[in-house]
Symmetry: C2
Subunit: 300 residues, 2 copies
DNA sequence: TCCATATATTTGTCCTAGACATAATTGACA
DNA sequence: TGTCAATTATGTCTAGGACAAATATATGGA
């Protein structure tokens, strides 16, 4: 059997690249790329190479470049631009580059062991702030530059997840206050930020109720009532468009009872100014601070 | 401040309900529902009630009903239909209803404890086949009928995940063969099936490399090469359209080297007939069988 | 009466082409 | 050099039409 050519329909390209169908069509008209083949029904068929090129473009867009400048560039030029993206690896303490090397050489279990060891040595708080957070940023940047493949990033996330989940299980104090509901809104699929938040809150002795990702807004409200929580924590990664974050947060705030606090954290909120009635969290330490303040206000 | 009306734009409705924008527009024309309000720009604004109603419709659709019969029905009628959906609870051994009750009363930690206990008592294999699998089906059906809210289902998934992950960590034998890469394709977001598969394969002493969910096809190929795996396992939940499963599987098979086996499992493949070069797995036990056969063929 | 095959209907997703608010960039001016 | 206004770029929405694949219904034969 001859190896048939690998081609994606427009829905497949949207899934694989994260670029919407409308956007793909309008790029074709405006920038002359991608220009897919057509099947007998005149429907677009994107060959593998174009999808690969779109992935490079998506990365550059996510790191702040503008379509006009880069959609239409050939693969070598795109790679050239990717290499020029900022690289903090040098500034960072050398110990982090050890992790990066483990990721690049696909040594999953060694990576997991190294992370567990660091956790034991540093303690959770320092582990999160000095190791995981900067490592996340490093990995994110390396991925942007194309030094890490998607599958390597996936493997990395999986190991962090395992280490953190393990640690979190060991610090459960189910009866404490405040009661905190944790989840993300539909569209936000990243678990890592949520897990880091859970670890931080767990340390403070908060009673975390983890709902996982992508809970519809109205379900968050119902869950908040059913579990009688004091605080709802939503996590946003930097992958989500700011616009979407803002409007979703407003909807959530309106839908939740006033007495329930709404906190938003993660890299995705750094770009936000201010949202009425929502507490925006910067670094993880803000969460601990928030819990402290909440306790002061509820001493009765 | 007056509580402003909660309304979603068409993209928000797509995220919240999983119904595509094109579909929403064409339903409006064909069935007269949903008919959203419009903003000053003539863009659709869906009020909360319509979104809620769409969620009910989506559930009925997912359980096999046809749009013509149900899009356009009012909420009470929809609920009536939901209640008529099949209910296996009665047939199942009574012990499972205990779990359901824990879910409905939102006792997360009690549920987790009960599950861990069952795992210890039954052993992994029986735990998966006699408890988790039927429980998943029960929960799925109860959710379809509207007896469980989304957030309750989320909470349930989270507890299962924790119990399974805990168990999996304890059975790592990293140097064994065959080497198995595990992930889902873009569009498939369900982790549970993947975790259950990992537990089963881990029991057989296979060397599982877990990539998490939603790995682009080309990345799967790269990962398979980098990790020199013998088998790639993809998991499909019943939430994914059959059409999408079939075309994705074909693409993946074409993209992977011939010497790498491709296995597909999960509720989503039950509806498939046959895909060239792909081994379709029914129950979890098939995986164990597959590993056994693989070992027989590779005794050199 | 039951099953297989042919015909009709239903349904999701794709198409083109155009519009416009918001974000980012450029230019003018202090 | 910094600030504000004008301009351009960009994603996402609109409408209305088309069609293949999936499903339902009718038909014929054992």
């Amino acid at each position: 059997m001859e190896k048939s050519k690998i081609e994606f329909d427009i829905a497949g390209v949207e899934r694989e690249t994260g670029i919407g169908k409308d956007t793909l069509r309008v790029w074709e008209k405006r920038y002359g790329f991608p220009v897919p083949e057509r099947d007998e029904r005149e429907e677009r068929l994107y060959p593998q190479e174009q999808v690969e090129r779109l992935r490079l473009i998506k990365r550059l867009l996510d790191s702040g470049m503008r379509p006009l400048k880069i959609v239409g560039l050939e693969v070598p030029e795109l790679n050239g631009l990717l290499r020029k993206l900022p690289d903090d690896t040098a500034q960072q303490s050398a110990d982090l580059s050890g992790y990066i090397n483990l990721i690049k050489s696909h040594q999953a279990s060694a990576l997991r062991v190294a992370l567990s060891r660091a956790l034991l040595k540093q303690g959770m708080e320092e582990f999160l702030s000095k190791t995981i957070s900067p490592l996340n940023r490093l990995v994110g940047e390396a991925w942007m530059r194309g030094e890490l493949r998607v599958f390597e990033e996936h493997l990395y996330s999986e190991q962090i997840t395992q280490v953190l989940r393990d640690a979190i299980t060991s610090l459960h104090h189910p009866s404490d206050t405040p009661r905190v509901l944790m989840t993300t809104l539909p569209g936000e699929e990243h678990t890592l930020g949520l897990l880091m938040a859970e670890a931080t809150l767990g340390l403070c002795g908060a009673n975390c109720i983890m709902l996982g990702i992508q809970t519809p807004i109205q379900e968050i409200v119902l869950a908040a009532l059913a579990h009688q929580v004091d605080i709802v924590v939503l996590s946003f990664s930097s992958a989500i468009p700011v616009l979407q974050v803002k409007s979703s947060l407003k909807l959530a705030r309106d839908a939740l009872p006033k007495k329930v606090s709404l906190w938003a954290g993660g890299a995705g909120v750094a770009r936000l100014r201010n949202v009425e009635g929502v507490r925006l969290m910067g670094p993880l330490a803000d969460l601990a601070l928030g819990i402290e303040e909440w306790r002061k206000e509820h001493v009765n």
